[in-house]
């Protein structure tokens, strides 16, 4: 798939994955790269940017094996932004579908 397509929506996908439960970097990277074909590393800069924008915050939690893991938690601001993203995305999707479907070209 076109890399430009992915770049635009990855922020939204990462936020959406954190909507229901907090998660750590590897978990997010692994499950996202299973669904969308991309390098595991792609997710980490996005997480960092979301954290610096205040959309997610982080905390450390002990893991059963190995050192403590950094968990990501969606903030209220993050939830708000995610909702906006989703609304925009759906609207955009509709328009694009219309255009490539040829309905708008008349």
């Amino acid at each position: 798939m076109n890399i430009q397509f992915k770049k635009g929506v990855l922020d939204m996908c990462v936020l959406a994955m954190l909507r229901d439960k907090d998660s750590y970097g590897y978990d997010i990277a692994d499950s996202l790269s299973r669904k969308i074909k991309l390098a595991d590393g792609t997710v980490y800069p996005i997480l960092r940017k979301l954290a610096s924008d205040g959309l997610v915050n982080t905390y450390l939690m002990e893991s059963q094996n190995g050192p403590p893991r950094k968990y990501y938690h969606l903030t209220d601001e993050g939830k708000k932004v995610l909702e906006e993203y989703i609304t925009d995305w759906q609207e955009f999707n509709k328009v694009v579908a219309g255009i490539i479907g040829g309905h708008e070209s008349e």
């Binding site: 590393g41 610096s52 950094k70």
Partner: protein, 182 residues
């Protein structure tokens, strides 16, 4: 590439970012290695899946643009040069007062000369019938003073233009000195 090599290379590629950020980022990627190895993957496999180190570092740097202006702002001298620039600006302002005063009084004197000479000119022309035998020389005299008035008018026009031009330049220069220094 094994874990150590990958992390070292990543650290090097992130050189543009502050040390704390580099540490946080490499820690995060290291914990990715640990978590993936716990699932039985090899270091080489994990490196491959993480993707090109250069690309990863580039995305990190792109994702933290706010850091760079911050760094530049920290380094920007808020001290000597800008203080000196302000002192210089004040000095220029003080210097500008007498220069402007001279210039303006020069312009005013030009206006006065033009008015007086025009008045005299009109007065003399009005008394044309009384010129008598000096008609020709008087006429030449009047034509001469007419050109002189035109010359003064031109001088006044360019004087005012130059004053406005220099004034604008001066204000711009001073503003730059105050805000940005030399």
């Amino acid at each position: 590439m094994n874990k150590k090599e990958y992390l070292e290379l990543l650290g090097k590629e992130l050189g543009a970012l502050p040390y704390n950020d580099v540490k946080e980022i490499t820690d995060e990627i290291e914990s990715h290695f640990v978590a993936a190895m716990a699932e039985g993957k090899t270091e080489e496999q994990i490196s491959d899946e993480l993707g090109d180190v250069h690309e990863l570092a580039k995305s990190y740097i792109e994702c933290t643009p706010y850091k760079l202006p911050q760094v530049l702002k920290d380094k920007a001298p808020k001290s000597k040069s800008s203080v000196w620039a302000k002192v210089f600006s004040v000095f220029l302002c003080i210097l500008a007062v007498p220069i402007t005063a001279c210039w303006v009084s020069f312009d005013i004197s030009l206006v006065a000369q033009i008015i007086i000479r025009s008045g005299v000119f009109v007065f003399r022309i009005g008394k044309y019938s009384e010129w008598g035998i000096y008609k020709f020389s008087n006429l030449m005299n009047q034509i001469g003073s007419c050109f002189y008035v035109i010359f003064l008018g031109c001088l006044l026009y360019f004087g005012i233009r130059l004053l406005i031009f220099a004034g604008k330049k001066f204000i711009r220069l001073n503003r730059r000195l105050w805000t940005r220094g030399f």
